[in-house]
């Protein structure tokens, strides 16, 4: 959706007389980037929501290309603009590994050790990509697509 893409990049919206499609195509041609952002839904369950402000469902927008080393210094509200690229280093398409780092640094409210261990989620957390076990989707290397839903649930033990 071109309108959305321009909005998130913080570009000025075209006046009503201008044609959105043309405007966006032009802008995209300007910078040579086809999709600047990816919108996705993230959900937490099994108690993990407590670490994220007790909110189960989150709608996020992430840059389409992210640093190879998963460093997440840039919050989504100020994405790297195509004209003024903040990322000097190597990039990759945004994937679930990056998402995990991003959640830890930007959305997690407390006790990071209950969410991550080493470079990935802690044991006992199951990651689901569009209702499928992430292991079937390439785990952290799964490249996130617009509209994807990623769910993090903690395994329960009570009975």
């Amino acid at each position: 959706m071109p309108q959305r893409c321009c909005q998130y990049a913080g570009w000025q919206l075209p006046s009503l007389t201008e044609d959105y499609g043309t405007f966006c195509r032009l802008r995209r041609n300007d910078c040579g980037v086809t999709a600047v952002h990816i919108s996705l839904k993230v959900e937490f369950g099994g108690g993990l929501e407590l670490l994220f402000d007790n909110q189960r469902s989150h709608k996020l927008t992430l840059p389409a290309r992210v640093p190879l080393d998963n460093s997440t210094s840039s919050p989504p509200s100020s994405p790297p603009s195509p004209q003024n690229n903040e990322y000097e280093g190597e990039t990759k398409p945004v994937d679930v590994a990056y998402l995990i780092h991003w959640l830890r640094h930007h959305l997690l409210k407390e006790r990071a050790e209950l969410f991550m261990e080493g470079d990935t989620v802690r044991p006992g957390i199951l990651v689901l990509i569009n209702d499928t076990d992430w292991e079937l989707e390439g785990e952290g290397e799964y490249v996130i697509k617009n509209g994807d839903e990623v769910v993090f649930i903690s395994t329960l033990h009570g009975g």
């Binding site: 369950g45 099994g46 108690g47 006992g124 395994t155 329960l156 033990h157 009570g158 009975g159």
Partner: protein
């Protein structure tokens, strides 16, 4: 009566409403009659599961549980009764389902399931139900189910959430270790006592476990490994997840030659990091008298002149504070206090010389008192040994224990 019929004439009437279902029929009912199911854990999940299994006419049911019935179980463990508080759960549940269906055979095991007895106890059953409440037993059950080549219908519930999965389905599906190769640290694996559980949530999951068992026995299971996630407050509340296949490297169900690591016979509790901490015992540790105080001594202080410059700080979550609290106490949950210690410290107005920190069992209060001491050197900060539970026991028996 033919060999492929029901054992008793009135069984046709009793099970008629499910026998007339297409796809179930007489063969389905005969399959249940000849089947055996063992339910490990006669608690929140086990009770509804046992109830439906017994009612449906499963021929033989095993019940494994080493606990006794407590008053705090009754809101969700619906086979137990006020009269049977104190009775072993396995016996209480057996009594309940015997009243429901006198023709089924029931075997009771009141010992704790361990690596030493699991094969013996479980081997004579067709389907195993995991209705337990702790990680070590979940790994033990999974390994045993794989070793015996039996399906394991696993349920779990906590707070408003539940999970359901059939492991080792048809001896092809993944086992518990395939999905969760590494156990979580025990302090991350909450129990119903610590985290709470809505009674009907265990009812939903336990009932679904009975349903899965019936589908397996009657040959009606679709045979695909999936994980069902239930959130009572979610919209929609159910979500079905497509699961990975077996891990070839799984130490339990993997392929010979590819298995990574081995399961030592082992102390499952040690594998899971030493079992859940005994919070009540920890909270009762006497500690440094300069840092901790007994409920009785606090009561003396509150009755003395010192009360005028004394504050009681209750650091339990607001919901728990709302259940009951000491009337003179103020509530700042540990979570808020840790996030914002300076604000908390400033809440204590100038005249205050002594602060007594209290929680339910006396663990969180120690953390809070430490944080407060670091910020307010001018006041005496102590926390109450054993928390409000000890207060109720030693000072005010009318104070509610929950």
């Amino acid at each position: 009566m033919s060999a492929a019929g029901l054992n008793h004439l009135d069984d046709y009437q009793r099970y008629g409403r499910q026998m007339i279902l297409d796809g179930f029929g007489l063969p389905g009912q005969v399959a249940l009659q000849n089947a055996s199911v063992v339910v490990v854990g006669a608690g929140g999940l086990g009770c509804p599961a046992l109830q439906y299994l017994a009612a449906s006419g499963i021929g033989r049911i095993g019940i494994v549980d080493h606990d006794v019935v407590e008053l705090s179980n009754l809101h969700r463990q619906i086979l137990h009764t006020e009269q049977r508080v104190g009775m072993p759960k396995a016996e209480s549940a057996a009594e309940a389902i015997r009243t429901l269906n006198s023709k089924i055979k029931i075997n009771i095991y009141t010992e704790a399931l361990s690596a030493l007895n699991a094969l013996d106890i479980l081997s004579s059953y067709d389907v195993i139900l995991d209705c337990t409440d702790n990680a070590p037993t979940r790994y033990l059950l999974s390994d045993t189910a794989v070793a015996l080549g039996k399906p394991l219908v696993s349920g779990a519930a906590q707070k408003f959430d539940g999970q359901l999965c059939v492991y080792n389905l048809n001896n092809e599906g993944p086992c518990y270790r395939c999905i969760f190769p590494k156990p979580p640290a025990p302090e991350h694996a909450g129990t119903c006592e610590e985290t709470g559980i809505l009674g009907t949530v265990t009812g939903v999951i336990g009932t679904l476990q009975a349903l899965e068992a019936i589908k397996l026995l009657a040959g009606m299971h679709e045979g695909k490994a999936s994980l069902l996630i239930y959130s009572a407050l979610g919209v929609p509340p159910f979500r079905s997840i497509k699961l990975r296949s077996r891990r070839p490297t799984c130490p339990a169900c993997g392929q010979e030659g590819l298995k990574e690591g081995q399961i030592r016979d082992t102390d499952y509790v040690a594998f899971c990091g030493g079992g859940p901490p005994d919070w009540e015992k920890k909270g009762m540790m006497q500690g440094d008298p300069g840092l901790r105080i007994t409920p009785t001594k606090l009561n003396d202080i509150l009755a003395s002149e010192a009360a005028s410059h004394t504050k009681i700080l209750d650091v339990r979550p607001r919901t728990e504070f709302g259940i009951c609290h000491l009337w003179e106490s103020i509530n700042i949950p540990l979570k808020e206090l840790s996030a914002n210690p300076t604000t908390t410290a400033s809440v204590l107005e100038d005249g205050v010389k002594e602060v007594y920190v209290v929680c339910r069992l006396g663990n969180d209060s120690q953390i809070a008192a430490d944080a407060l001491r670091a910020l307010r050197r001018d006041v005496v900060v102590k926390d109450v040994i054993g928390g409000l539970k000890a207060w109720s026991r030693d000072v005010d028996p009318d104070f509610p224990v929950y």
